[in-house]
Symmetry: none
Subunit: 305 residues, 5 copies
């Protein structure tokens, strides 16, 4: 049965058709966090984004695409996101077992770019054919190519929603408009989250923001309004607020592998700040499966607690 | 987690894309019979088929479309099937709560016809927009209009499957080719089930067959091969066999309201004969809700037992 | 400001996109009945349906299409419905002044038919171009051509809703399946209303039902369930119930000109029975304008009272 | 390696694109008769055409669609033909194992008709998706509906050939234009074969002709030209000649089950008359599998001898 | 009959329709390596890629497109790949004799480019018309034009698979993102193979990797995880692992002509490392035919041994 909290979250999407709302509900009602309004999603696009060895060599079973479906299932994740090839390689075996997100654009590192843009590597039709609940798309606010990305996303989102698929946007500030430090600056992450929400994203994925402020004009306001930069939970709260005052699901990525204590502290901060959950790739599949499950369960326990 | 039995059933549909298989899995993994390989589906198309008073006056809350969603949920049914209007009237409120079947064609009784054909009253696009897991379509083998129906179904099924929707076919022999008694004759029901399967149906719905044999040529074979006409379980077994030796899901409708003892005996016979379950409309919503739930639970207990 | 009642009515259409809901709100929030949840709509398709002299000779200013826009405005009607030509002839002059319904199919009397079907005389594109809030379509349940009409309406409704237009269905039982008396029989009118609702109509227009019962199978149920046939308010209540338990807007037409006392009694019955309002053509424009306005105001006062 | 005989046969189809020729070659190079220029094809459309019990009760494993794929494989048949449902039920399991023909139209016996026409129950797209080498289509020359069939076939053949699929035509004289005896009359069968060839069929399937002559005008010519009516081999030779002097593959069906001695004599006559082979359904699957294989091998031995 | 190994390989493609699986089976079941799960494919696109003299002058019969079909056949190759012109020039003569791959994009050397992209020179429709079992497409990871290529491939793969054609991707790192040595660096080749797999390739073709490591970030991982760089078999194993842990067919190209001893050693390494086979162009057709056949047979013997 649908919990009150899930019903409340779904009510934020009242302009979407029942198909989109049903697919959002599938994430919110699946796995160990079903019904809590919190999500922990397993994303595995690193094979494309960073190459196979950097992604999987530390835990070789993860070269196998079936591994990740099974990990997401065994750990009770809310869903699993991957590019076309990885989903095609397991969607039949795992048909109906967990909500899938087809990551529609992807980017490799075989060329150094100042202004990155991902390539579209799957379609809304592929997502339907493979039984997915959502499509995913990455934008790089700050890139000189951002207009192409925003416009591509617009078209994809319109098509996806018309056939009842939810739209998940990875919003990663990057490109010639930003300093390296600026990519995770609080003002920039909040801005990138807002852009994704304004582009019609149903679920928004951002990185955890640092206490850095990148843009001078923004900095003035942060200081004048005394927007707290510490602790992390306050920064999370600010990003959540920037996602339509919490009326859009926003989840946070952990980034590269880090020590578990830090990870759990971050999750506690996400929870304290009102975040909707985590999307945890490398920290999940770059360790042995039992360890990954233990770690994911611990994170879920924090969210559910 | 997927049971062995559900995995086995899904393996019969290995030519379908993962989307169709996922949606079949949604029915098989929902409600009180989740995982058993058995289905009890609530269909409510009688408002269109027989008119509102004949359908709902005996239990007036059933005039309300939300009533049926809630009944299907509360009783733990495997899914709910209805025409466009009834689904539009509740799909948003119940988004993500249970697998839906959009009944794509419907027929009214305001004109007397020898050779009936239903009108198409919804589309594959409607099904996606409303978050359905399947589309439904009725054929009347025996009608002089059957060619139109088979061809319409062919086109709809091709479109539906291409976007990952499962296809449910109501196969009801009727029309100038058949006597009234022939409409439920064992040979005719088995034939109608086979036709639906050959047309690519993923789930087939037929009426429970009587021991009557309609066609002279068929009768010879039934006698020569000593195909048992009694008891009902044997007739069910024959229909299941006629659905690709049990490799297609075939469920049986109860028809008009009848006394519960008879109903339970029929369900026992369906189970004993290897049927996949029941689709129970009027017997469900034409009584008070607590009674309906008790009755549906009892039926599910028989299937699960 | 949106009243509670209008919000409640709009909530019944939660599966529709905000465009459709906005256009429904335009009718509910326009004219003298704005905010009450009641509607009085002026329809003028009689020029096409009955010919100009039979329609307008009794009140010659009504030959002028601008007359009807002005009448609807002056009387404070909730909206105005007409075929393509009449709307094209005034949509510019009255742009933005009142919600319009483009009647998409129309029928003339220059051929005697047993099984009528109207011709499609306008498009969804026309409705957008002319600034309409809704499209209208007439079905004749009981006609041997009903399948063509239901399927045509299905396609039109899907298109109209996808561009945010509301869908108004005139459901008029007629054709070889029915006796003349049966066209307004309570069971038949309720059935026809249900069919329109199942076809996805947002607003349903039917005739006031008589106490006659047409179909033998239905009659049994009406008697067994003691569905009251008198007074008129009870029959209205039954039709409202047949429109998804009142969760679809259903309005009643007055039919041919009749004396005003009768008319007001009917309106009181519609109100008492929970009907959403009236659609009053000939009784409005077949009298002098001041009289028409007085009459319409009196009706509105009954509804608002 | 391609034999001289197969190369010669393919040369008759020199106007077809290489895709069609490749798919014709697949039949000619598959199974025990590979390379001989002879074909023995297993068709199983009786479930649709005659109903399941009449088709499969005498050998119940044949209810299972996988049975027929396996039978065709084990017996070394040149190909397997069936309607959509039967192919969907095994195409994945047997992917790449034998050339398939998707029977695109099918007919049931639940309505008595003077002028039959089959319903289209599959598409060229289905054939590609299922990995078929050809599509099949039945025409009934002699039926008042023949124009519809010829035109439908024309469109299907044009589409199928454009995507490289071969076209197999079942040409079965039937309908109000013919006496019962006339359906297998030599003049009529030869005429029906010619019509199929003229319609662009790549492979033509007809029934073995009797020595009867149906049409008076034809009879005059048969007598004047001393076209031999006996023995059967001469009649086969005449049909082969009627298929563009043997430049179209024409195969003969055995019809209902008969005793094996007769069957083998017929095969010898087909061979002696220059026929390209047999399409043997009921005689194959209506007996135990080992017997069927032995029988089919014996037939193949006659052709190969 | 299908071997266990071929069935296992096909099971990796369970999300594809039976058409794609059938066409994959055609390669796996053709030629001298039929049934072994190994492939040796003849590709002849050098006429386009390097010009005719550089390609064929050393063995002038190879100017004739029929030569290559015959060579592939005589040597018992698993398939033959070429651009549109070469296939059109022989597809009719060799219809049905061996599985063909239409190379859909091609690149010439008449312009010096830092960031190459091939031109699309054939279509999915061409592949069907010519009777091909697959389409081929080349991507250049590392090129600034890679986004265009990935997106073009995405669209082509979706179309090809929908009509049952397999998709072969040549993944050749090249362009301004890479050093010359980097084009065959182990980390880069493994990455390029992964990208092809993620783009949905059914068969992946890469060059044999050197022991060089190109990317600093990757190098760290290779060293930390002790991924062996020697011998060649270990590098092959790493690439196979990078193709979804061996669940995608990956074959290796020999590159420019080299001495046969080296070639055989490479093949032994491919086999030892679990590679699926070779695609050998210049080493095959740039020598006399009998020598080429002897060489190819020797290679096949190694794979089959």
């Amino acid at each position: 049965m649908m919990t009150q909290r899930v019903k409340e979250i779904l009510s934020y999407y009242d302009s979407e058709n029942p198909g989109v709302r049903s697919n959002l509900a599938r994430f919110l009602n699946h796995g160990r966090l079903a019904g809590t309004g919190k999500l922990v999603i397993l994303p595995v696009d690193q094979g494309f984004e960073h190459g196979p060895a950097r992604s999987f060599a530390v835990n070789p079973p993860a070269y196998n695409p079936l591994y990740h479906f099974q990990l997401a299932l065994d750990a009770g994740c809310s869903g699993y996101a991957a590019p076309l090839g990885f989903l095609e390689a397991g969607a039949a075996e795992f048909a109906g077992e967990l909500p899938l997100i087809l990551k529609l654009n992807n980017h490799d590192l075989l060329l150094d770019e100042h202004d990155p843009i991902s390539a579209v590597t799957g379609s809304v039709g592929d997502a339907l054919r493979l039984g997915c609940a959502a499509v995913g798309y990455t934008i790089y606010p700050g890139s000189a190519m951002r207009r192409e990305m925003y416009e591509e996303l617009r078209a994809i989102a319109e098509e996806a929603k018309s056939v009842g698929l939810a739209v998940v946007v990875w919003s990663y500030p990057r490109g010639s408009g930003l300093s390296k430090e600026g990519e995770t600056a609080l003002d920039v992450v909040a801005y990138a989250a807002q852009i994704a929400a304004q582009l019609g994203a149903n679920i928004i994925k951002v990185k955890l923001p640092s206490a850095h402020l990148e843009q001078a004009e923004a900095k003035k306001v942060y200081e004048a309004q005394k927007i707290p930069l510490e602790p992390l939970a306050e920064r999370v709260r600010h990003v959540v607020q920037s996602c339509f005052d919490g009326r859009r699901i926003v989840i946070f990525s952990g980034g590269p592998r880090e020590d578990d204590a830090t990870l759990y502290e971050e999750v506690k901060a996400i929870k304290a700040g009102g975040g909707y959950g985590s999307i945890i790739g490398r920290n999940s599949f770059q360790r042995k499966k039992p360890d990954a499950i233990a770690m994911l369960h611990k994170i879920m326990d924090i969210y559910a607690g």
